[in-house]
Assembly symmetry: C3
Homo-oligomer: 140 residues x 3
């Protein structure tokens, strides 16, 4: 879990594309196996998830309309042999109230994204008994 | 949109100054053209914006009082030949509820800020038809 | 307040541990004096603080149940000769509403954390008249 620094990417995602899919393609296209991701912008009709531990699945909520992407933070690692992006978002409505959770999908109005690649032994997501797909944990 | 790593700055912004103006001056003073910014702290009477797509301008809301600066995230790039800082914030009130959006301005009570400089072809903000000033987008 | 880049750590915190204590131990164990920290995940029964300026202390709120850790951001510096971690969090409930503030403590369900070590003159927290423990401020 110690990594050296790889490439840095900062860019604007094109208007109209779906954010999670676009960033997953970006990671594949540039061969990024491990990395950290952050960003800001504005999303339309984002769908966010809240994990239901007992049901072992996400409850998905759709927010209708346009939201300021107040924070986008997450990581890139390997799942089933491919780059997988895990993102959480906070989203601001027209009254300034914030909503958020796990980003399922969202249409980009504006997204300014920074990706910091990490080089080293890849972190791999493996299915867990709790219904999530996680890296091996550090020692306690 | 690929960058090498430049300098790292971590510091506390002086109490009482206006945050956006201070950070813009900081970037100018240190010659930072491109970078990523994050931070935490406490702000007073922050003014936040929500972009109104149809009106092509920000609706500005003033939050009265003191708010935990739960997240500060953004970037530095070039607009009209000078460093320009684009920041989004999430702000926590005394009841723990969060508000946020585009940071228009805020008085610093505490702000602990990290700036990571990026070196390479500068990203330049250019006026768009939608009323925003944006970098050229990546390819779809 | 200028630093060169040190080690990068990305890892999953073990389920069930208390997050602030675990990360403090992690910094001590790896000899990290200065750094920046971010992450996402899910926390249980987090306790968050809002600083009461007049009373010079935090009001602490406990959020009962499980919350998406929508953003975790903070830094590592020195207080009383040891690594000290200052973290702010935004937390999403089952209805997608966000709560947050200064993280006092929280039980980890999932926490995926990135730590970027910074090398240079350590930043030291010193007790202030306002009741907080802060680094010397930058010049205005």
């Amino acid at each position: 879990m110690e990594f050296s620094s790889g490439r840095n990417f900062m860019f604007r995602v094109p208007e109209g594309v779906e954010l999670v899919g676009y960033l997953t393609d970006f990671a594949e296209r540039h061969g990024i196996s491990t990395g950290v991701l952050s960003g800001i912008g504005t999303l339309k009709n984002p769908r966010i998830g809240y994990f239901l531990e007992e049901e072992k699945k996400y409850k998905v909520m759709e927010l209708t309309g346009t939201y300021e992407l107040v924070s986008l933070s997450g990581n890139i690692s390997i799942r089933e042999g491919k780059p997988f992006i895990h993102l959480h978002v906070s989203l601001g409505g027209p009254d300034g109230k914030l909503y958020g959770g796990h980003l399922v999908e969202g249409e980009v109005f504006v997204a300014e994204v920074f990706i910091q690649e990490l080089l080293g032994e890849p972190l791999e997501r493996k299915p867990q008994d709790n219904g999530l797909s996680l890296w091996d944990a550090e020692k306690t």
